[in-house]
């Protein structure tokens, strides 16, 4: 049985089913086609985001995050940007967590397979202008910038700016149809709330709209994501090293206004990222539709008129760091949602301030005329000289942070003092129970994590097949 149909669960189910195993895939959310709503829209928030997108890591500042709740999980709502795990990150996981057999060369076949299966590639044509601005600014500064490939299939058409169009290769387009074709059964709208060991099998307790069900399974792979996986395990009494090491990428945004038009109704996903200061810091461009622009400008009262008059000249950019702190995921008695706590540390707030200043410098180099940082009470920036007015440490109570990357709540490895699961996802001390999603990642990887999640999911599922 596989719990969760996001990137980890979908790959697991597909690998197991295609090797002849009897697989049942349970997904809490609905089964909706990729095209059921416009990407990054209000409708998508309501249809496919957990709690309408209103999920929050408590702390100062609070860190809103986004989780999907639909068949295909996060792959149905994210940008589809793909990275392999950086080698230095893998080396750290081996050194500090005892992760075995996870060198770049050992992971190479898994990355290569995922990249083939998802049509991972760069854009076969011009990239969005808002994204190219980031590239221009980075080149002016002499900073390392790259175009990040996406899992995407281009269809030969283009938007009004010539940017090629196509379809995101989410789980519902790729691994899930293959899993179903291989005999996997999918139960959407099925929320698992308990796992109980009963002799040689697991009893999986779940709720559907029609009522409660209990399913016996020889082996269970839990792949609900970095928040829901530890939540389920802890509710089931499985707590060792579970839900106490949540990591994320704290992200601060800034709106830039240019003289020329950089934005339009079909801008699409920006694909450039600046990696000069990686692994600690990355810069990128966010979805910059009018609602997203207006949201990012809330800390600047009265500037909503800027959106109304000049949104085509504006875009949202972000500075992201690898957070050093560890958060917690806990079950609250009587409540169906977990409590997530994450306290952004002072050093992180300092590093975010430095990152914001660097990003602002880059945007001025790219020709930005005005910048609006996501800090309540912060000045609008009209020139590089204004950067001295930015705080040296972001004020915790007035800064808008967010994240879309969460992981590490059930780290894998052989160190029993740190890890919830072994190097291949088997929960320490328990037979027949595995984790196979972002919660396994030992630390924040500093890059978009889905490539890592899928490669490890494939690796771990194949390892299981070889053993049993």
């Amino acid at each position: 049985m596989v719990v969760g149909s996001g990137p980890g669960g979908a790959v697991t189910a597909c690998v197991l089913a295609e090797h002849g195993r009897d697989v049942l895939l349970l997904e809490e959310g609905p089964n909706l086609p990729l095209g059921s709503c416009t990407p990054f829209s209000l409708e998508e928030m309501v249809q496919k985001y957990r709690c309408g997108g209103l999920t929050l890591a408590l702390g100062t500042p609070k860190v809103p995050y986004v989780e999907a709740r639909c068949v295909g999980g996060g792959s149905e709502i994210n940008s589809g940007l793909y990275h392999r795990t950086p080698p230095d990150v893998l080396e750290r996981w081996q050194r500090e967590y005892g992760l075995q057999r996870a060198t770049p060369s050992e992971l190479e076949p898994h990355f290569a397979s995922v990249e083939r299966d998802l049509s991972v590639c760069t854009t076969p044509g011009p990239t969005p202008l808002a994204s190219r601005k980031l590239e221009q600014g980075a080149r002016q500064m002499g900073w390392r910038v790259l175009e990040v490939p996406r899992w995407f299939r281009y269809d030969g058409t283009a938007g009004p700016d010539g940017v090629p169009r196509g379809e995101r290769q989410s789980m519902s387009k790729t691994f899930l149809p293959r899993a179903l074709a291989a005999g996997c059964r999918l139960f959407p709208n099925t929320r698992v709330y308990g796992l109980i060991r009963n002799g040689l099998h697991w009893e999986v307790r779940a709720r559907q709209p029609e009522g409660q069900i209990t399913i016996a399974a020889e082996t269970v792979f839990v792949a609900g994501g970095a928040v829901q996986t530890p939540f389920l395990l802890r509710r089931s009494g499985i707590k060792r090293n579970v839900g106490r090491s949540l990591a994320l990428h704290p992200t601060v945004k800034i709106v830039a206004r240019f003289d020329e038009e950089v934005n339009h109704e079909q801008l699409g996903v920006p694909v450039h990222q600046v990696k000069e200061f990686a692994p600690r810091t990355s810069f990128g461009c966010s979805i910059s539709s009018p609602p997203h622009l207006a949201l990012a400008l809330i800390p600047h009262p009265g500037c909503s008129r800027e959106v109304q008059r000049r949104w085509r000249q504006m875009a949202v950019y972000y500075a992201m760091i690898t957070g050093e702190r560890k958060g917690r995921v806990r079950a609250l008695p009587g409540f169906e949602s977990p409590i997530v706590r994450y306290q952004v540390g002072r050093q992180d707030l300092r590093d975010l301030a430095t990152a914001l200043r660097r990003l602002a410098t880059l945007l001025f180099a790219a020709g930005a005329r005005r910048l609006y940082p996501s800090i309540a009470g912060a000045p609008q920036l009209c020139s590089p000289e204004d950067l001295s007015r930015l705080p040296a440490v972001l004020p915790g109570g007035r800064t808008d942070l967010m994240t879309i990357h969460l992981f590490s709540s059930c780290p894998m490895g052989e160190r029993l003092d740190r890890c919830a699961a072994d190097s291949f996802g088997k929960v320490h001390g328990l037979e027949g129970l595995y984790i196979n999603d972002a919660s396994l990642l030992c630390t924040a990887p500093g890059v978009n994590p889905q490539g890592t999640v899928m490669a490890f999911a494939r690796r771990n599922a194949l390892h299981f097949l070889r053993r049993f």
């Binding site: 709690c51 309408g52 076969p124 490939p149 281009y154 909503s304």
Partner: protein, 141 residues
């Protein structure tokens, strides 16, 4: 009590939308029932423990207007409503600021998502031949 909270929610949404629309384009003008429906729906979707806190804070917000203006928030005129929102927006108390920020975020997203906000979608141009991007490693880094 639920009715009081719902009326306060509606009044907050109307006030915040009016701020956004002041002197500007048709697409942002009242009525704002669509925004209120969206915000109320989001309130129902949010985690229960957060919803309890937000509803309690909304109740307090609505009642606290009586101390200054003699009437609950939803019975005040536009100018007094704006003042009350402004006082909570700049409050030294984090939960007060958070409440206004919560409503403002949702109202803004709903308002700027209105269909009449954008130009008509243009027809996609045809590429010159079917393109396939290069695999990772061949471009960029």
């Amino acid at each position: 009590m639920n009715g009081f909270i719902d009326r306060t929610l509606s009044a907050i949404c109307y006030s915040l939308c009016a701020e956004q629309a002041a002197g500007n384009e048709d697409g942002l003008q009242p009525p704002y029932n669509d925004v209120v429906r969206f915000v109320a729906g989001q309130m129902q979707r949010m985690p229960a423990f957060l919803r309890l806190g937000v509803r309690a804070a909304t109740l307090l917000f609505g009642l606290s207007a009586m101390g200054r203006s003699g009437a609950p928030f939803h019975r005040l005129g536009p100018a007094r409503r704006a003042l009350h929102i402004a006082s909570w927006r700049i409050s030294r108390l984090g939960p007060c600021r958070d409440l206004i920020r919560f409503y403002e975020s949702l109202a803004v997203v709903a308002l700027y998502s209105r269909p009449d906000w954008t130009r008509p979608v243009l027809q996609p141009a045809q590429c010159q031949g079917q393109g396939r991007g290069r695999p990772p490693g061949e471009r960029g880094e």
